[in-house]
Symmetry: C2
Subunit: 232 residues, 2 copies
DNA sequence: CGTGCGCTTGACTTTTTTCAATAAAGGTGG
DNA sequence: CCACCTTTATTGAAAAAAGTCAAGCGCACG
């Protein structure tokens, strides 16, 4: 009783499950499994059979693709409350990418067939899931646009402005991931990222000390991000 | 009666609506609008408010992003039976990309709110839509992988093999889009595509005459596509 | 106190794009 | 059916962007 109460409150706090009748949140609690992963641990790997999907409860994780030569492209950085690994639940059975814990994590695991039963019985749950997948498609469209239509300085500028939007209380941004991870998120390598940060500093667009970055000139960053201007 | 009968048979032939009870296909027929677009005509533009989504009935269309400098990245080439523009139905309201007819098209348009009502009442329709969005996420993950982790010869090789898989009856592939469009689909420009086709021809991997391409050495194309080898 | 990992910088290579010119192809109207 | 004109495709030379290889620094953690 104790335990399922805690589970229920975890579940009701997940955006994917907002607006669901209490009964259905309890149904979810019945099928869910709790899991933990240590920093650096694989959660699943591309090609694995997906027996269900995950929701991150605490910690931080990444979903990524790896090239044969070892280059990594991060598709998504996950924080608490975010679902991942849903694709095989509804189409095909293997994961299209890999996932790994960036810090010690707790997560919930929802087994595929029990979850599908709930979705079938439950229009609100289906609608919420459709919204989640649609938002992800939107993000992916934007990622493709960045990779194909912008060069690295533009992608970095866009990311800095995105961070600034999320951390608007602080005058100074704090990177929530290592620069190596950031380079993989932007579709480049650490050396290139480092050089561009140096150039931006030289141009007085930013000021950086370790993981903290001050945005000195957001207007020019905007122009870089939208491709109107390039970094000299 | 005549007309709605024709509509009903169109609708029942759309994979998205397979397995639905007849009643629900009739419900769909009641809310649908038929539309036609001429070659080159815009169907919608990025940022437009999405009042509903489309299913292509005949012809061919593309969904794409445009950079400020005019470079285009095609996200998807659509053929008959394929739905598009669904994202704003379930998340946000504006289109994340633009769509245009590549040839004269007929399409069905499903208005958002009436369609959502049907989805809410209809678990199978919801499941089908979840499958469609999941498959698209899979494709996007693969597109991101290609753009970020492969160079252009690898992307082209992957595309040729994909085409070969779809046209396996013929010994000779036929490009179903212009080379300019293909370059935009592969995330490059016509000059680069042309040069790489020339190199592949010189290496005797393919033989090309106009839009027809013979694959002479699929094994090496596989290696290019997976990054094990590079084009000398 | 060292060892390792993340980060930076330099020199060099490769890939791709840009710009420009030309050639080929396809459709239209005479 | 042909001539014309627009679009599409190809090629070269040069520039730019990003990646590779290698070395060195600094900081954290055991």
């Amino acid at each position: 009783m104790e335990k399922s109460g805690a589970l229920a409150s975890l579940i009701s706090g997940i955006p994917l499950f907002h607006g669901l009748p209490r009964q259905q949140q309890e149904d979810l609690a019945k099928i869910v499994l709790e899991q933990a992963f240590k920093r650096g641990q694989a959660i699943f790997s591309e090609g694995d059979e997906g027996a269900g999907f995950y929701v991150l409860i605490s910690g931080r994780a990444k979903v990524f693709k790896l090239s044969p030569e070892g280059k990594e492209q991060i598709l998504h950085i996950l924080g608490p409350g975010e679902p991942f690994g849903e694709v095989p639940v509804f189409a095909g059975e293997h994961f299209p990418a890999s996932a790994e814990a960036l810090a010690d994590c707790r997560s919930l695991f929802f087994p595929r067939s029990a979850f599908i039963d709930l979705v079938r019985k439950n229009p609100s749950l289906a609608m919420n899931m459709l919204a989640v997948l649609s938002r992800r498609l939107r993000r992916f469209a934007s990622l493709v646009e960045d990779l194909s239509l912008k060069e690295v300085p533009g992608r970095l500028a866009a990311y800095l402005l995105y961070l600034k939007g999320r951390q608007k209380q602080a005058k100074e941004l704090t990177l929530d991931i290592s620069k190596t991870q950031l380079s993989a998120l932007l579709g480049t390598i650490p050396e290139t990222l480092s050089r561009i940060l140096t150039r931006m500093t030289r141009e007085k667009l930013i000021k950086l000390s370790g993981r903290r970055i001050q945005v000195l000139n957001p207007a020019v960053l905007e122009e870089l991000a939208s491709g109107e201007r390039r970094l000299s």
